[in-house]
Structure formats: C-alpha cells, structure tokens
C-alpha cells in the first residue's frame, strides 16, 4: 500500500513487542457489537487510475479558462500570478501545522506577521488576525465580538450586504440572544445614513455594511460611521480587498471592524473554497478578537523572532471563555494572499483594480445600450453592477450557457423586488471580445423577444 510503510514483518515485530497476537487485539476495548470492519466503498485505485478518474470528473465542469464568466457576487475570477502557487506548493509551508513550536516554524510565523501587516495597510486598520474561515464567518464573528464589546445584542445588517453573509450571521447567533434589526437600505440600493439613524436604538451593538456593497456600489462609509458612532454602536465593514487597491480604506473612514473575503488575493475560485476570512480591527480590541495572532519578539540573544501571541483569548487555553471556537484557520490561503500582495505591490494592486473598474464600466455601458437594459441603481460602482433586464434573467442565463458563457447572478434569488435584475461582474480577466459577444447575444434575445411578441400580437389580432 502506497501510503503505509509497515510490512508484514514490521507488523509482526511490533505486535510481538507489545505482546499482542493480532491487531484485532488492539481493538478489544471496542464493544464487540459495534465492531465493524466492513465498509461498502468502491475498491482502491492505483494512482494512475485515480488521476484519470479525477481528471474526468473535473472535465465535467465548465472551467473559467474556457468559459467567459460574468459572475462575481462574492467570488472573483482574478489572475493568480504563477509565483503564488509555486510558493504555497513548498512542502515546508503546506505540510506543517499551526506554528506551536516557534523555533522550527519561523517561516509560517513571519509570513503571518507579514499577512497581518498587509491587511492592516490594505484596510487602514491597526490589527489583523491570522485569518478566519471565509468572509461570511469572519463577519459572523465580528458581529459577536461587537456584541461582546458593547454588551448590546442587536445588529443592523444592511440588505446591501451579501445575502449569504447575512444568512450566516443569522445562523451563528441562533443560540445567542441576538436581534436582527430592520434594514436601512432604500430603493437606492445603498444604505441611507439618515434612514439608518432612525434604526439605531440603544440596543444596537453593531451595524454591518459592505463596501463595495453586494450591488457593486460604494456605501458612504464615513457618513455612516458618524451615525453609528453617535449611537454608541460599532461599524463593521465587509470589503473586497481588490477594490481597496483603489478605494479609500474603511479604516480611514471610521470603521471599527473590517472583515472580508480574501479570495480575490491570489486564491482560485475553486467552487467556493477554501477561501480566506479577513479580520481587522482597532488595537484596543486585541483581547476580544477571534483567531490567531502573531507578534514579533526576541530570543535570549536579542534576535528577532515571531510567536503566536495573545493566546489567552483562544479556545485551547480559555475553553468556554474563549473569544471564539476557531482553531485551524486558512493559513495557506493567507500565505497566498501575502505572496499576491507582495507581488502586486504598491502600484500593481491599484492597476488591477483599475482594470476591473474599466472593464466593468465598459460592460455596463455596452449592456445598457441594449434596448430594455438599464442599471438598477445609480451611484458609483466598482467591478459589479445590477442591471434590470427586459427578459427573465434565468432565460438570459440559459441562453448564454448554451453559448458557453457563464452569465450573471440572478438577484431575484434573494431580492424579490429585483426579480428582473442580473448582477454582472467584470475583472481584469474579462476580454473585450467576450463582453461584446455577451452584448450581442443580449441584443439578439431582445430582437427575438420582440419578434415573438409581435408575432403573438399578430395572432391575437387575427
């Protein structure tokens, strides 16, 4: 067996050493009635068979190399520089575990310290942890943290926050005495600070907004922060880190906690995971934050080194008094993001963000040039926008799919009032020709629909 080195002779020797007749002896403490050594599983495959099988399975999926894609909605198709995968494929990084032994884990520890530093720079915050599971769970933890800090159990979740994130928050707080307040998002598709102020009763511990929001638009973070802070609550901002290459960071606009999905930073979409929860906040909350933190310190000879620190917040020490139950996190994804941000650098990240912006604006212009398509909301947007369609979004997507194109996100899934809208996204990976093709197909659909309608009307008339 490929992965098991023990030969029959080795087994014999070990059994003899421990005074057992057979390995079955070693399981005598298991009640006989519960012993079950038969499993109904497919037979073992040789590596070449399993490689073939998995390749075939993978080819039953339509990959983004070969299918133009206009989906964003929380997972983005960005270019992953070759360097990233080469680094995270180093055995020393991916076959080690949590750096409990700093003397032989400085590689992981220093990269986490660099990750924390990069996330602070990006978000404009003071401290960042070593990662959470994903953007949604990072948000849920932030909401819990803010409730603990403020001792207020109500949270205001703007409906312009990713619907899945809101559902995850709901799930997380099921057992806690939390209340979800009404929604301050009006027909503009963004949070109205005035409207928000009206929701901010004194039991509100935190307000959650997304920047850019789920519809791609930019919330007025600074004005919202003022309103939130005036009410004694904390402001949690969910971000897209690529957008922060271009946008004023929430930390400069009054955010108390910044969370987000780090996937765009060098992590492939992979059908939704593994991703990277970002979590950054103010230094004063250091003892309240969930997750691991790495700090710099020195050894006996004054040499700089890095260690896991503030561990007394964590479950392995504080157990039920811990700030969270998180143990394993998304370290390797955090490493990918660290490599990505180092590689992009000061100007590169901005340049990629600009390309996304340019492509998305070109796409919006072109799509809305097709009769019957118009933007659902006004106001500045980054790489996504909601467009109302003259044809059912599901029908559009089905037609695009036939053409090998992955269409937009159907907003009617979550917003009944947007049943006629698609959320379209463009990044640096979207080619002009593909966008033009999309627009051409939309045009064709509209023409056909008109013809059908006309024909139908013709029949009625007859």
């Amino acid at each position: 067996m490929s992965y098991l080195p023990a030969t029959a002779a080795d087994r014999e020797r070990m059994l003899r050493a421990i005074g057992a007749r057979s390995t079955a002896d070693l399981f005598e403490d298991i009640p006989a009635c519960a012993r079950r050594t038969f499993l109904a599983l497919p037979p073992a495959l040789a590596e070449l068979e399993v490689a073939r099988l998995l390749r075939e399975l993978s080819e039953r999926n339509a990959d983004l190399d070969h299918h133009p894609c206009f989906l964003g909605a929380g997972a983005y198709w960005h270019y992953v520089p070759a360097v990233v995968d080469h680094i995270i494929s180093r055995s020393e990084f991916y076959t080690s575990y949590t750096p409990y032994q700093p003397e032989i884990s400085q590689g992981t520890l220093q990269t986490i310290y660099e990750f924390q530093s990069l996330i602070c720079l990006l978000t404009g915050m003071e401290i960042a942890n070593a990662s959470m599971y994903d953007g949604a769970s990072a948000l849920a933890e932030a909401v819990i943290m803010c409730a603990n800090i403020t001792d207020r159990g109500t949270v205001v979740l703007a409906s312009s926050v990713h619907p899945e994130y809101r559902r995850v928050v709901q799930t997380y707080v099921q057992g806690l005495s939390f209340r979800l307040a009404a929604d301050p998002v009006g027909p503009s598709g963004s949070v109205d600070p005035g409207e928000l102020a009206r929701h901010l009763t004194d039991d509100v511990g935190s307000v959650v907004i997304q920047y850019p929001n789920f519809f791609g638009h930019l919330e007025e973070v600074d004005r919202i922060a003022d309103v939130v802070h005036a009410a004694g609550a904390l402001l949690i901002v969910v971000v897209n880190p690529i957008a922060l290459g271009l946008l004023t960071p929430p930390g400069e606009m009054g955010a108390d906690v910044v969370v987000g999905e780090g996937q765009p930073l060098g992590i492939p979409p992979s059908f939704g995971g593994p991703y990277l929860g970002l979590f950054a906040t103010r230094e004063k909350f250091i003892r309240q934050i969930p997750g691991r933190i790495v700090g710099a310190t020195t050894d006996g000879q004054g040499r700089r080194g890095f260690v896991l620190t503030f561990q007394t917040r964590e479950q392995h020490i504080r157990r039920e008094k811990a700030t969270s139950n998180i143990c394993s996190n998304e370290a390797l994804c955090a490493l990918a993001a660290t490599v990505y941000l180092s590689y992009m650098g000061r100007h590169g990240l901005r340049a990629v963000a600009e390309l996304c912006l340019q492509n998305a604006h070109y796409l919006a212009d072109r799509v809305t040039s097709v009769p019957g398509f118009h933007l659902a909301f006004t106001g500045p947007f980054f790489n996504e926008f909601a467009v109302r369609c003259p044809i059912a979004p599901a029908a559009i997507n089905a037609r695009l799919q036939k053409a090998g194109i992955i269409g937009g996100y159907e907003l009617g899934r979550d917003y009944p009032e947007l049943a006629d809208a698609l959320l379209l996204c463009a990044t640096e990976m979207n080619r002009r020709a593909d966008m033009d093709r999309l627009v051409e197909l939309l045009g064709e659909m509209v023409t056909e629909a008109q013809t059908v309608t006309a024909a139908g009307e013709g029949r009625t008339n007859a």
Partner: protein, 488 residues
C-alpha cells in the same frame, strides 16, 4: 540566516507584477469614482519577482514539516499528504470554477461532493452528511446548532447544559458556549474513561448534549462507551461525537453504530488534506436521520433529470435547516483531496490505516513507557499521553524542555500540556504513514533525552541548541505588542 521582512526589502519603483493594457476604451477614474472614494496611497512592498520568490523560499526553509520531519503532534494526525491529491485539486475543472455557475456546468464537482457525502456516511455509520463546515470547530458549531434546533423544535427549550469530559479539546466547550449553552465538565476516571458515576450524577432533563471525543484525547477508547451514550439518551440528550481522532477508528467501528447522533470529521487529519501551516481544514458533519432535516443548506442531492439521466443539484429546499454556516458550499479544494484519498485507499486500505495507526502508537508507547510516566497504562488507540512529571520532580526538566530538545534530534515535538488534566503532558501520535525505523529513531531520541534530563538537565532546559533562533520571549510579545510592520 535571518530573513528581513518583505517590507524591509522594498525599494521605491520596483514591481514584480506585470499589468496588461486595458482592451476597452477607458474612462478617467475620477469620472466614475468621486474623489473621496479614491485612496491616497497604499504602501505595499515594492519588490521584484525574484525578491518575492527568494524571500518566501528562504522563509519556507525555516519550517519543519511532514515532508522533512517526523511530526508526532498529538491530536493533529500529521500523516503523509499524498502528492496526487495536490495535483488533482489544481485541475482547471476544479480550481477554476465559480460557485454560482449553473449546476449543469458543474456536474463533476457536484457528483464528487455527493459521492463524498455517501462515503463519509458509510465510513461513520451515519445517515446524512454536510460538507460545508470549514473546520473541525466549525463542524462542532454546525452540529451543536443542529442539536439546539432539534430540541427547540420539540419544545425542549429548557435544555441548557452541555456535558464535556475534562479531557476534551478546547473547541468543544468554546463551541457549546457559542451556541448559548452552559458547559459542565465531567471528570475522567483512572482508566481514562469518562467517570460514569460522575456522568450519571450530572445528567438530567436540562442536558442538551454530551460532546465526546472518540477515541478520547488520551488516545483511549472509552470502555463503557455504550453506557455513556445510553446515559445521555436516557434523559433525552443527544451525543455529539468529536471525530478529530477518527484515524484510529477507520474500518474498525463506526460512530453511528455506537449511538452517536452527530459528529464531525477532520478531513485535514483523517483524510490527508494538508495542514497548510494552520489550514485550510475541512470539517464535514454527519448526522443520524433524526437530525438530517436541520443540516445547513445546501445539501448536494441527486435526482433523475427529465431526460432520464442522473443529475446532481444543490438542495436549498430544506425548511427546517439551521441555515447557512458559511458562504458557498465548503472548502471544496479540500473535499477533492479527501475524495481522492478515499478512492485511492478503498475500504481495505482505510481499515489498514486504522489498524496501523493504532499498532504504531502502541509500539511507540511500549518503547517509551519505561522512561516516562504513562498517563493510563492500557492499550492506546492512535496516540498516547506521557507525563514528564517524574522528570520535572527529579530534575526540573519540563515537558516543554523535552519538546525543545527533540528539535535538536531532528524531530518535531509532540503536543504538550494537552490534555490539560495531565500534568506535563506529552501527547504522541505517530500515524500510520511512519515506518518502524522512524518510530525507533524517535524512541531512541526520547530515551536519550530522559537520560540527559538526569545527567545533564541544563542541556535539556537550554534546548534547542541547533536552531537559528532560540526560545522566544513570549511575555514581551504580549507586554509590548508588535503585531504588524508600520510604514515609517
């Protein structure tokens, strides 16, 4: 050689990234984004591609890892991570698919997930599986929320207590608390079993659940597991099985057959997905039928398509579900790896894993139990717990010192000071992928250190002596926190 921070390598104007020109007619950024939204500066490092590569490659070499070092970190199952798993997870058809693609365009991914759900159910003897939880602890949260939903639906809202053995991993009590329960710790007896009398004394109608790790973090199988589980069920409580130590159970006995109601797997332990320096993990949860309605959405399901073919889909239509536990569907890349592993091993392979993991642990325990105190002297499962209390008392050498000294011998130390109820604990899990030669080398090192502790305790207390950096000042790290690089 010490490696500077990537920021310290920065030089203005350098850039690794190459950026393609826009293919579309461009607009002035300020025209579409108001000034106030435009950030002034972003002082990311400015480095060349070689700087990036050299920096992180050098840093990598400062890590011990499974691929270079025996890594018997108890409770973590640091087994070999097959290379083929890494390759298949990177296939474009797996790595480059968007979670919201129409299901017709991701049938391969859904089939894989569906089959993995089935395999995990079979392996654990449970009825239904969700692959969504991102980690063991996340699986615990998912499972405990389901227990809560179950009791709530039955109107049993008075169930507020969760019983947890004192040997449990910290995530168990932390999770119970996140779900709104109060935690009651149950002691272990001298054979490392749960103290049945104490348990019986603790059960009552307000008990929501027992969270129990099988085998326990002592590396022991509770000899009265059926009574333990029965005691909870008798009072209407449910049993959460922490499956982090499931490696020992593979093909030997199933959680479901023991009476467990809900459990999680750690794919990054039992099913060889790599630990990644701390993650990404994956913690699928399996339940008995009575808890299946509460599984988080979506569940991957199978049906007949209109044309008669089999079709896989995401089932969101589950009104009693606890809801969503994370965005999208789980750490899919890890699921691909675990699936690959199960297909590589087959039933007999997995059974051999369980058998060999336990055999290796018992062999190593046998070799070490003379020189160190054994917490409980009976057959262990996948791991065993030594105590260095003898060393500490006679020589002042602590478990920490022994761990550090092992580094000098070329080994990654075991888990130390856990389980917390064991004084000066050394928790050793060799796994099945290590050879007897490696076990023997490790045993020799441990025995040598036991001798050193007597003959030259300072040598051990001053360890490690062979690393680039010595023991670090953790107190200073908290007193004067330095948690990030700041631009000057």
């Amino acid at each position: 050689m010490p490696e500077p921070l990537i920021f310290e390598r920065s030089s203005p104007g350098r850039q690794a990234a190459t950026i393609p020109p826009a293919e579309v007619p461009t607009v002035a950024v300020e025209h579409v984004l108001p000034e106030r939204f435009l950030r002034r500066d972003l002082p990311l490092p400015e480095v060349s591609e070689l700087d990036v590569v050299r920096h992180f490659t050098r840093l990598s070499q400062k890590n011990a890892c499974i691929d270079t070092t025996f890594y018997p970190l108890g409770s973590c199952t640091m087994k070999y991570n097959p290379k083929i798993n890494e390759d298949v997870a990177r296939l474009p058809g797996f790595a480059r698919i968007h979670p919201y693609q129409p299901t017709e365009m991701v049938q391969g991914a859904l089939q894989l997930m569906y089959e993995l759900q089935e395999y995990l159910a079979e392996i654990s003897g449970m009825d239904a599986v969700t692959l969504q939880p991102a980690a063991g602890a996340h699986g615990e949260l998912t499972g405990m929320l389901m227990i809560r939903a179950y009791h709530t639906e039955r109107g049993e809202t008075g169930r507020s207590r969760v019983l947890i053995p004192d040997s449990a991993h910290g995530t168990n009590p932390a999770t119970a608390k996140m779900v709104g329960y109060t935690v009651q710790s149950i002691p272990s007896d001298s054979r490392g079993n749960l103290d049945l009398a104490a348990l019986r004394g603790a059960v009552g109608p307000d008990v929501a659940a027992l969270m129990i790790t099988i085998p326990s973090t002592f590396g022991l199988f509770d000899e009265r597991i059926l009574e333990v589980i029965g005691a909870i069920h008798e009072v209407g409580g449910l049993v959460y099985g922490d499956g982090a130590n499931m490696n020992a159970m593979l093909g030997q006995a199933r959680f479901g057959d023991l009476g467990v109601d809900v459990m999680h797997f750690n794919l990054h332990k039992t099913f060889t997905t790599p630990h990644g320096g701390g993650g990404p993990p994956a913690g699928p949860v399996a339940v008995k039928a009575h808890l299946a309605p509460y599984l988080p959405v979506p569940v991957v399901a199978r049906r007949q398509a209109p044309d008669g073919s089999v079709e896989y889909y995401l089932d969101y239509d589950r009104p009693r579900s606890i809801g969503k536990i994370r965005a999208f569907y789980g750490n899919f890349g890890m699921l691909v790896r675990a699936y690959t592993y199960i297909r590589s091993m087959g039933a007999e392979g997995l059974q051999a894993v369980g058998e060999t993991a336990v055999l290796n642990a018992n062999y190593l325990m046998e070799r070490l139990k003379g020189a160190y105190d054994l917490y409980v002297d009976r057959r262990c499962k996948h791991e065993f717990v030594l105590s260095a209390r003898r060393q500490r008392r006679t020589t002042g050498v602590r478990a920490l010192d022994i761990a550090k000294r092992l580094i000098d011998y070329g080994f990654h130390p075991p888990t130390i000071y856990f389980p917390i109820v064991v004084e000066e604990a050394l928790m050793i899990e060799p796994t099945e992928t290590e050879s007897i030669e490696t076990l023997d080398e490790f045993a020799e090192a441990m025995l040598a250190i036991a001798r050193e502790a007597e003959e030259n305790p300072e040598l051990v207390k001053g360890a490690p002596h062979t690393t680039e950096i010595g023991r670090l000042d953790e107190v200073a790290a908290v007193r004067r926190p330095n948690l990030r690089w700041k631009p000057s």
